[in-house]
Amino acid sequence: MSDKPTLSSFEHFFDVTPQAIIIVQDFHNVVYCNKTFMDMTGYTLNDLEPLSMLDLTHDDDKHIIEERIRVRKSGVDPPRNFQLRFVNKDGSISLANIYTEAITFNGVPSRILLGVNISAEPLIDQSPELVTSLIDTLSHHSELGYWVDDINDHTIFINDRLCEYLGYSMEEIRKGTVSDFLHPDSQEVYLQITKNRREGKKTASSYELILINKNGRPNTFSVVGSLLYDRYQNPIGSVGFFSNIEPTKKLSLVISTLNKYALFSRYKDLSSFWKNVLEDIINLYYSECGMVFLDGEVVAEQGEFTANMSPQEILEDMTKSGDLVKHFQEDCSKYHASAQSLLIATLHLNQRPAGFIFICSSIPKLFLRADVDLFLTFCNQITLNYEHHFLYLQSEEEREFVSVLLDILSHDFLNANTSVHGYLELIEQSLDTEDLERFKEYVVRSLSVVGRSERILQTVQQLSKIQQERKARRSIAVFSSLENAIELQKALYHPRIVNVNIDCPKKLYVIAGDLLQNVFENILNNAIKYTPEEREVKIEVSCKPVILDEENFVELRFIDHGIGIPDEIKPSFFKRLSRGDHRFQEGTGLGLYLARVIISSYNGNIVFENRVSDDHSQGTIVVIRLPEG
């Protein structure tokens, strides 16, 4: 008995090798196949028994088998290597690279076919020439970026398009890590994806990455990525196809930003409107600094600009040159010390140049031609939104103003007229009685009512002033306004001693108008008037910055030692002509109702508190909160 090993001695080895093995006799009868072949094609041994090589071959490749048989029959050995498509049991196709060798199997001359499944390789149905051509196109001529990494943050291959965008050669890119070329937000995304791929976890095949080029310019790409395997199905890297979506992304963000500012109710005052717009457009264009200049003033600013930069001159230059938008791609230090890229677009109000928005960055050549056009469109549209917003607020204010005026005329004036008319009727009725004392009483009372009518007219005048002031709000130093109001009230009550203690930083500013001092005077006047004669007039005024709903405010507290206000009627003091505030309506003609209207017009509020929390008779604290200037 021979100890020479036979083929069956290697059967176990054949079943674990990744190569598919079949043995064929009589040109096309399959007499053996290993487990790998059965796994690849899905057939069992029983299935294979009646099948020939031609049965297993794809129709289009049958000629390959027939040709090889013909050649062999002619006594010539055909090439040992060839590719063949097998038809699997489920009808799918497996492409295999095949190597053949002549052997003797069970004493019969046979051919052994060693096959490697290369179906996983791309472009299965294409010819090798076409595949080469496609890879060449992808690598050197495509607009599509193509980056292959080793799933350990290192580059294996990157195509010309991405090299060109990044501004580095493939060799330079290979020296660093992949994440070196990503925006910090994208580094996190990319490293998580590669980690998942290494760990065999399911990963999104499509995602966005922001690449940073040699100049520092960010650009967003949509990436379709996939793992790459070796022929043994082990992951060896990943490939990402990069498509530049920066223009469409920017367009979409611009539209959503414009939509955001089309909602009027979100912004109660116009200064926060421009601050928000500027912040959004700076982020959208990856810039660092910017400014909105409108109607002769800087309404929003981010970053520090050179001292000699004159917004008015910029506007004049733009108007003179007739340029709607200007784009600088190099040294812009005239505007900002470190600016290398700058965009300016004129804002038109009522069809006239009224200001501009500019944004700048230390990144050179940050803005592309498409960015410039989109920026101009944004500026034009946001100005329209602003105009609508402005008109809306103005009409709301005017409606409120008209409503208050009508209310005053229809109620207060009518009341006064009713009284005077009544007294005149009584005088007429009593003419015959010659009761001079009674006449005198009626006349005195009529005069008093007429006096009140005059104060009502003064109130109307004050309201008109509030209307005008709404358009002329500015930064006002609280301390000096308070000081003026205190001096006036002290003079008014001379020789009564009025002690006012102010705790207010001199450089504390609020956004308000001229009438703010009238409000201060009114509060101080009440505090003095309603401190009983026997008590010393003591008023403490404190001012400090506070944050309310993430906005910066200044809180002013006027603390008096007067007779106080009962808690139950405190709210009625600020209501329109609820005459709980008789005491405040007299004298200055500017009641607490108007104080509230004025403070509200500055986007602030005013409330009362007790000086001693559970005893209203110990004095009042008037609390005013105004936006910080």
Partner: protein, 122 residues
Amino acid sequence: MATIYIIDDEDSIQFLYKEAFALEGHKIVGIADNGMQAIEEIDKFRKCPDIIIMDHRMPIKNGLDTLKDLQKLKAFSKSKILFITADPTVREEASKLGAALFIQKPFSILQLAKIITELNKK
């Protein structure tokens, strides 16, 4: 002669009512500066006033709210309520709440005194 209770916060109007109603021989039995004060006082009356003259726009409690509270009192069915205001939009609500007469400002005080005389006869 009618007994009259006045609810009005304005001193000059209160005085006017007193003088004009005296000419017609009516008697003022009470005056309140606001609705809350009126409710407290009217509740204590042993004999309800014939007429209640009520202004609408007052501090603390306005005319309509006072009418609602008055519905819980005996005076609501015994007294005739004259509701006086410059605001025509509250006429319907005042009527629904039980005002016998709605008088819109401006008005003649002497005519009002005469209206009260007539109303008191019914």
